[in-house]
Assembly symmetry: C2
Homo-oligomer: 188 residues x 2
Amino acid sequence: MNTLSYGLLALLTRGPRSGYELMQQIQPIWQAKHSQIYPLLALMEKRGFVHYVPVAQKDKPDKKVYSITGEGLDALREWVPEPTGEPVKRDEMLLKTYCIGLIGSDQARRLFEDRIQMYRGKLEKYRRMIEELGSETETAVTEGHIEHPCFGSYILLKRAVANAQSDLDWCRWVLELIHLNHIGSVEK
Amino acid sequence: MNTLSYGLLALLTRGPRSGYELMQQIQPIWQAKHSQIYPLLALMEKRGFVHYVPVAQKDKPDKKVYSITGEGLDALREWVPEPTGEPVKRDEMLLKTYCIGLIGSDQARRLFEDRIQMYRGKLEKYRRMIEELGSETETAVTEGHIEHPCFGSYILLKRAVANAQSDLDWCRWVLELIHLNHIGSVEK
DNA sequence: TTAGTCATGTAAGTGGTTACATGATTAG
DNA sequence: CTAATCATGTAACCACTTACATGACTAA
């Protein structure tokens, strides 16, 4: 049982889902491909943490709809309060930033402009997702209704927005510095 | 040549370093253990991107001091302007947050308080590192001197501080929500 | 005397990505 | 007619972690 397994169990606490749906819904929280998820689900089923019912579909391939079992819920409840591992972040951009002086300021500008575009796209996506949760959810959560089924989703989205915004602001600040440098070198 | 290799090359643009020093200095930018770095350095040496001189030490084990070669610098200059891969973040805390309703509010509080402590520690560390760079560096960088040897380090530290601060603020906000919930349930 | 730092390496195992494989339906 | 979505799976590979291994010096 690795971290991803607990992530899948966490999603299943909201109701039954197919492997395909789990694969899509885990993405914003934990990046994983279907090739990692399908074998894991099979393993978890063998160990009794989840079970599935095959569902035949017309016009679409058949699917397996998974649910969390009592055992699975117990395991999840035990795991959540345990000491949390340090977050792991890997971003090529940090390495490139470290040696940004190696390339011309025009190329450097492109690099950061591309990043800004990426963060803008993410921010829009998150804002759409918050809208989808509805304003009733928003007021319920900000009043402290932890038991609301969307509590987790909402506060995670808030965090994602704050992170993207802070990284975007940083990119803009670096662009300003590059601009200052360019002006300085022209004046010479 | 994977991403970590370019990270090591990036560090070596600042001057020669031993494998051990590289291992320590890459940590804030890219997490990697010595067991991954030493074989990589050997491979990069075989391919001509770096070379080393063995340095004998008294009172300490001997070491290999690596430098970047012309070939290595060329490879790095080619890599930096290339399209940048999406950042990967994996944080157990997000999964736990998603199903925070499963545990009691006292346990939930502990989880977030521990995190706040972690971020506080990180922030202090980053602030010490910025201090070490010196206030002359700070003014030089904020005036846009990209060519300054500490430019990359400084702007990366600024980003790390902003990230930690935004995550810390989020944790505090979640604690407030948990507190609101607790008060609400007591009044009932 | 125990733990920590410096310093390098290998071996085994886990976690994660890419590619291979199939196949029907739908939208541009 | 091409690409995307739905849906599941396996195989090979790469990236990363943990554990094994050694050894001298230093500070609590």
